[in-house]
């Protein structure tokens, strides 16, 4: 199987779907001729023509609004928001429209759209190129929210998202685009080549939305994470030597509660890790649900290791980023409780 970076895997997912389904269109700022500022759509316009893959005006709300209209017609538009930090102008079309069409029309009209957007920090992007706003969407009923942690999942999940008949917000942790980043920013960068999850089939395959993956079975404590934090958690577990069970949620809504519940009932301990700001982050929902479903099994408080409740500062991004050290300390705390 060919080794792909996350960028190549995402590109391949769109390539496959453009090839299989004439109703799939791809558009967004700079995605056409140029192929996207992160190159995720490179070559697609040349291959499928400029009425299927094209540039748009700089208007995130317009991009999503047009996609909702296309979805209502029966197409499956895949749009790119250049950075998750710039998704806010599209908030109304996502929350009031994409998420509501099916419900308010009694199923007459739907919005089978996919909104791809790079998220997360660690690239010296400062406060407007580093955000992880997933919790603003997981609170909106009618939206599905996905965040892959590796090329293999990214392709399989993106294909599933495009084929899904409901709107999906697909977050791409940009720090993982080229390699499995474990949070040790001071160490040499690793490429996806050679990583098992960097092995990606050329063709069509899907990973169903709503299924978490147990990446490391363990008995001592459950670690719930997604996106970049999956690699940070794995590093922290390896370094702390604690026999943790690491679960990559992959899809946040709908949530794979069964897998989470089974794990925490077994381990009796839970640490939640995300890069987004803490207050009202998705970790709060995870903590609440684990507590509600596993109360009697809990032997220690559920901990959340997250970004701080501040914007993502450029000069201090490594103090902001919840790295392996902070996660390892949390693991120790819950084990020693």
């Amino acid at each position: 199987m060919p080794a792909m970076t996350m960028i190549q895997a995402i590109n391949s997912a769109m390539d496959v779907m453009l090839g299989r389904d004439p109703d799939v269109l791809v558009f967004g700022e700079d995605v056409g001729y140029f192929g996207g500022v992160f190159r995720c759509t490179a070559g697609l316009q040349k291959k499928y023509g400029h009425t299927r893959v094209f540039d748009t005006p700089i208007a995130e709300g317009g991009i999503v609004g047009a996609a909702v209209g296309m979805g209502a017609y029966g197409l499956r538009p895949v749009v790119e928001i250049q950075f998750a930090d710039y998704i806010y102008p599209a908030m109304d079309q996502l929350t009031s429209e994409a998420a509501r069409l099916r419900y308010r029309s009694g199923g007459e009209f739907t919005a089978p759209i996919t909104v791809r957007t790079p998220c997360g920090g660690g690239i010296y992007g400062g406060q407007t190129h580093s955000q992880s706003p997933e919790a603003l969407f997981t609170h909106v009923c009618g939206l599905k929210t996905v965040m892959p942690s590796n090329p293999y999942d990214a392709k399989g999940l993106l294909i599933a998202a495009i084929e899904d008949d409901d709107p999906v917000i697909f977050f791409e942790p940009k720090r993982l685009y080229n390699g499995p980043f474990d949070g040790h920013h001071d160490r040499p960068v690793k490429p996806w080549a050679g990583h098992p999850m960097g092995e990606v089939p050329e063709g069509y395959y899907r990973i169903p939305l709503g299924q978490a993956a147990v990446l490391r079975p363990g008995a001592a404590v459950t670690v719930l994470c997604y996106g970049t934090m999956v690699h940070v958690a794995l590093a922290a577990v390896a370094e702390s030597g604690i026999d943790a069970e690491v679960i990559d949620l992959r899809t946040l809504v709908p949530l794979d509660l069964d897998t989470i519940e089974a794990s925490v009932r077994k381990t009796g301990r839970c640490v939640i890790v995300h890069e987004a700001t803490r207050t009202g982050g998705f970790g709060a929902e995870l903590s609440a649900q684990v507590q509600e479903t596993c109360f009697s099994h809990l032997e220690a408080p559920i901990e959340r290791i997250t970004g701080w409740d501040t914007p993502y500062p450029l000069a201090h991004e490594w103090q902001y980023f919840p790295g392996p050290a902070r996660v390892a300390e949390a693991l120790k705390r819950v084990m020693e409780f």
């Binding site: 009425t51 709300g61 047009a66 209209g69 296309m70 009031s96 029309s105 949530l255």
Partner: protein
């Protein structure tokens, strides 16, 4: 810490010389208490000649400031905008407009008697939706606001179905979820109305791009009010429509009011809404919205243009919201009583009726008979609709509350439904 300094500026004048700045807050000419006076409204003399469908938009700027009219004050139809509509079609239009008004009247009464929680009339604006529905193909896709019920009625959609939605009863295909009048009727190519103003404008552009992408022949048409033009989706729609040369009709219904705010608060004090089109390189036409024939003719022109691959047209229909904004609104709080009666462009139903009479195709008697017939039609529909229930009695099962959030019911919603006992 780095030191910072600002040199003295190099501008010629000095600040001291300047007068204090001010800004301006638009106010309508009259408010409650004062005698209504619409003399301020300048109507251009006659309407400009009908331009060729393929006329370049640069040559059409005047049309954004003029007013397309066909029916004169003598109730005669004249000018080269005169559309090819035979008497039968005109009577059809009159019928649909009258049915729309009578429907509104009955539904408002239903609201007053507690059969529904809310209602919105389109009184005085019937010509726009009805004439446009007749100008469009039945399967051209409409993205309306809450004031185009005339589209459904002109397309012959079931009154019972509409009433069931207004009553949020067991016959409501939207399962009682939506505010009354927020219809959805895919079979009638009528898009689900949004409570969020303006969102449908850019959606219509996207829909039309999809239709064009598929080599389909169905156009899209969208409607917003004067007030709604200030929303972002209006700007997105005009931008995308112009950039991609999209086959869509973008309609602004300028009924002079946005709840309590007159159209000056939306920018109508300094220019027309049709003029917005010019900035994007789109043709913009201002049309007498109470002139059934003018609405039809201007719409046909825009349709022909879209079908010729020349893209979108912005149509401003100049009209007046004769009734309250909604059943929750009382206009006497912000505009003088009787202003509607002074509207210089009259009432659309009365004008078409008088025209048909003037050309010997209609009479007071026939009109009275039609009114009686349609009143009966609505009464019958009302009875049938009420058999499905009214507000608070005979609604869909609460179990349906959890359907259609997603295509399939996810685990967490199944659990919540169980908690509710379903």
């Amino acid at each position: 810490m780095a030191q910072s300094t600002v040199e003295k500026g190099t501008a010629v004048e000095t600040q001291a010389a300047h007068k204090p700045l001010r800004f301006h807050v638009p106010e309508p000419k009259c408010r409650p208490g004062s005698v209504p006076d619409l003399s301020g409204i300048r109507l251009p003399p006659g309407s400009l000649p009908r331009p060729a469908v393929e006329a370049p938009q640069e040559q059409l700027h005047d049309y954004a400031y003029g007013l397309v009219r066909v029916l004169g004050d003598d109730h005669r139809a004249a000018g080269d905008w005169l559309p090819q509509l035979d008497a039968e079609q005109l009577r059809q239009g009159l019928r649909s407009m009258l049915l729309t008004r009578l429907y509104d009247q009955r539904m408002l009464r239903a609201q007053r008697t507690g059969k529904t929680s809310f209602y919105m009339q389109c009184t005085g604006e019937e010509a726009i939706a009805v004439a446009q529905a007749m100008a469009l193909e039945p399967n051209d896709m409409c993205f309306p606001s809450y004031r185009q019920q005339g589209l459904l009625i002109a397309r012959g959609w079931s009154l019972v179905d509409m009433m069931c939605q207004v009553y949020n009863n067991s016959g409501d295909r939207m399962k009682g979820r939506q505010l009354p009048v927020m219809y959805s009727a895919k079979e009638a190519s009528f898009f689900t109305i949004s409570g969020n103003l303006g969102t449908q404008f850019i959606q219509a552009v996207g829909w039309a791009m999809a239709s064009a992408y598929k080599g389909d022949t169905r156009l899209a048409a969208a409607w917003v009010g004067d007030g709604t033009t200030a929303e972002a989706d209006f700007h997105y729609a005009l931008t995308f429509a112009a950039v991609y040369r999209v086959p869509v009709l973008l309609n602004v219904v300028n009924n002079q009011w946005a709840i309590s705010s007159f159209q000056g608060i939306a920018g109508g004090e300094v220019t027309t809404f049709a003029a917005r089109a010019i900035g994007y390189g789109l043709p913009g036409l201002r049309v007498d919205g109470n002139d059934f024939l003018a609405v039809y003719a201007a719409t046909r022109w825009a349709i022909a243009r879209a079908r010729a691959g020349l893209g979108a047209t912005l149509l401003e229909f100049y009209t007046y919201r004769a009734a309250a904004h909604s059943s929750s609104d009382d206009p006497s709080g912000y505009r003088p009583e009787g202003e509607a009666a002074l509207w210089p462009l009259g009432d659309p139903i009365e004008r078409l009726k008088q025209h048909l009479i003037a050309v010997g195709e209609w009479s007071e008697e026939r009109h009275a008979a039609l009114t009686a017939e349609l009143t009966e039609t609505i009464k019958a529909a009302g009875k049938e609709a009420e058999s499905f229930g009214t507000l608070g009695n005979k609604a869909s099962s609460p179990r349906t509350m959890f359907d259609d959030v997603f295509k399939e019911l996810p685990q967490h919603l199944r659990r919540q439904r169980q908690q509710l006992g379903y």
